[in-house]
């Protein structure tokens, strides 16, 4: 492994459940990964794979009740966030780590001006006068491509793409070391998606921010990420750098994901989608969670789940085939 001091984020065995009257929803089941400074990790998976829960867990924003972080470690800059006090968390959120949410339409407070909402995070984390904070807020607005005259307007006066730019401005206002983007472009139309992605890439390079990009879009990953982790039923089933995952795909689920994508370069007559549906996280199958859908299923898969196996440097697979 690399030099520890360069590691920004270190997650081990993070397990998050939602405990409801109707049963326990095992949303995240022992995920582990590292993130270096300046690096971007793509967290890929279908809807319901536990990506957003994992992200909220990193922010310590799991709604409790019903959510509970059962076990694990989240270490950012050497501090274990799961042991942080309320007070420490207030300094952590928005300053060290900030998050861009999926739906920009509802992410902004409807009764505060966008200027207020950007300045709020600045005033929370930086010792500045009100004027300075608003000045910086207007700079941030310009930075994400919105004229600063619109500072005093309310969210409902902006379009979806514009709102997401505002959300990005809020997230980056205090220069966080880690930015978690939860499907930041899913709710936007394609042209706006491209603009927002380009903006995020540009800003990430400018400020050297590490990033976790949550997406179900493998195309987005190649555009912006250095590393990829594939999530299935609350577990990371395969992780590695872009090359490992795209060129040297190992896990049957990852193969299935690529098999579901139409490709222009290779002539395939039919797509090969993954059969069946993701299991209900309140009722996961025994053994490997993917075995009911797996084309390479072995009898052992029904009873035992593989450990995370490093098959080449930095390329991890959780599958009995490679153990």
């Amino acid at each position: 492994m690399n030099d520890k001091s360069n590691t920004l984020l270190f997650v081990r065995d993070l397990t998050i459940y939602y405990i409801t009257d109707d049963g326990v929803v095992k949303a995240v089941n022992g995920i582990s990964f590292d993130l270096e400074r300046g690096e971007t990790l793509g967290l890929v998976g279908e809807t319901g794979a536990g990506k957003t829960t994992a992200a909220l867990g990193l922010m310590r924003l799991i709604p409790d009740p019903p959510g509970k972080i059962i076990s694990g470690e989240i270490v950012v800059n050497g501090k274990n966030i799961l042991q942080a006090t309320k007070h420490e968390l207030h300094g952590y959120r928005g300053k060290e780590v900030s998050m861009i949410f999926q739906d920009p339409m509802t992410a902004l407070n409807p009764i505060l001006t966008v200027g207020d909402q950007i300045a709020e995070v600045i005033r929370l984390h930086e010792k500045m006068s009100k004027e300075q904070a608003y000045k910086k807020a207007s700079d941030m607005l310009e930075l994400v491509g919105i004229p600063s005259e619109r500072m005093s307007e309310y969210p409902h006066q902006f379009s979806g793409g514009m709102k997401q730019r505002v959300v990005i401005a809020i997230a980056l206002a205090c220069n966080p070391q880690l930015l978690i983007a939860d499907e930041p472009t899913t709710a936007l139309d394609v042209t706006i998606q491209a603009q927002v992605l380009a903006l995020m890439r540009e800003l990430r390079q400018k400020y050297d921010t590490s990033m976790i990009m949550i997406t179900h879009d493998l195309g987005v990953v190649t555009e912006i990420c250095d590393k990829v982790a594939i999530m299935y039923a609350g577990q990371i089933v395969e992780s590695g750098n872009l090359e490992d995952i795209y060129e040297n795909t190992k896990h049957p689920y990852t193969k299935g994901l690529f098999g579901s994508l139409p490709s222009l370069s290779s002539k395939v007559n039919r797509l090969s989608p993954i059969h069946g549906l993701m299991p209900d996280p309140a009722n996961l199958p025994d053994g490997c969670a993917f075995h009911p859908r797996c084309p390479n299923k072995m009898p052992e898969c029904e009873t035992r789940c593989s450990v995370n196996t490093e098959i080449e440097s930095g390329h991890f697979v959780r599958c009995l085939l490679y153990e």
């Binding site: 959120r93 509802t106 992410a107 407070n109 409807p110 009764i111 995070v121 409902h156 809020i170």
Partner: protein, 321 residues
Amino acid sequence: MLKFVIKRILVTIPVLLGVTLLIFTMMYFTNGDPARLILGDEATEIEVEVLREDLGLNDSFLEQYTNYLIGVIKGNLGTSYVTGIPVSVEIMDRIGITIRLATLSTLFAVVIGIPAGIISAVKQYSAVDNITMILALLGITMPNFWLALMLVLFFSVFLNILPASGLYGPLYYIMPVISISAVSIATIARMTRSSMLEVIRQDYIRTSRAKGQTEFIIIFKHALKNALIPIITVIGIQFAISLGGAVVNEQVFAIPGLGKFMVDAIKARNYPVVQGGVLVIAIMFSILNLLIDLLYAFVDPRIKTQYQKSSKKLKIAKEEG
């Protein structure tokens, strides 16, 4: 914004005209001959007919309404059939008490109800929440006049520590204000709680948390301001409920306010007094509603921009372009 204020004020005028028409129509169709009522059973048919003519009761509906309206605009609400004193004078003598009761009750309801609702929402499912909500439920389910009777029974009859009737000092206000405001306290507390709970679930609250904002500011700045928008409209209605409650409770506590005066007038078919009383209450309440609407627009920018549509459209066009 100024345009909106002026527009809103102008809108109040036809409403008040409508109120006069409504009240006048209702009283016009009420059974009983006022002339006969004034003169009593001994008067002859001719005497009654003369008085009918004098009072204008033989005129057409429209004429009578027009005369009534002209009088109202001049500040003349007619003369009491019973005492012969101008209604406006009689009302002015009594309205202060009723307004004071209703205002005190509404204020009391806001001061108790909103914090109770916030605490309940923030500590959802805790003992405090449960107790508050049980009390609120009792407040809503008890008729105010029965609560008043029970208070009298307990504090005046059994304990003998509070005066049961009249209005001669601060002590006399305690039971009427409690019984009038109980429903409002309960309603406001419940609305605040559910509104807060609704707002707390919103994505933008999560955004504030993600910014590292403290829970205190999140509750009192981000959530409460959003949650108060529906509650503001309710407060106006609560004032109306308090006015109604005052009218009924003035009977229980023998308080010489406008309410007791009006109910007595209704029983005596003393039309001008009833008309005048309802009209004055309606005017007061319309002004309050006006203020609340303005406040509403002030607090919720989404409503404000509804009145600035043209400029909004321009901006969206710019943005899209």
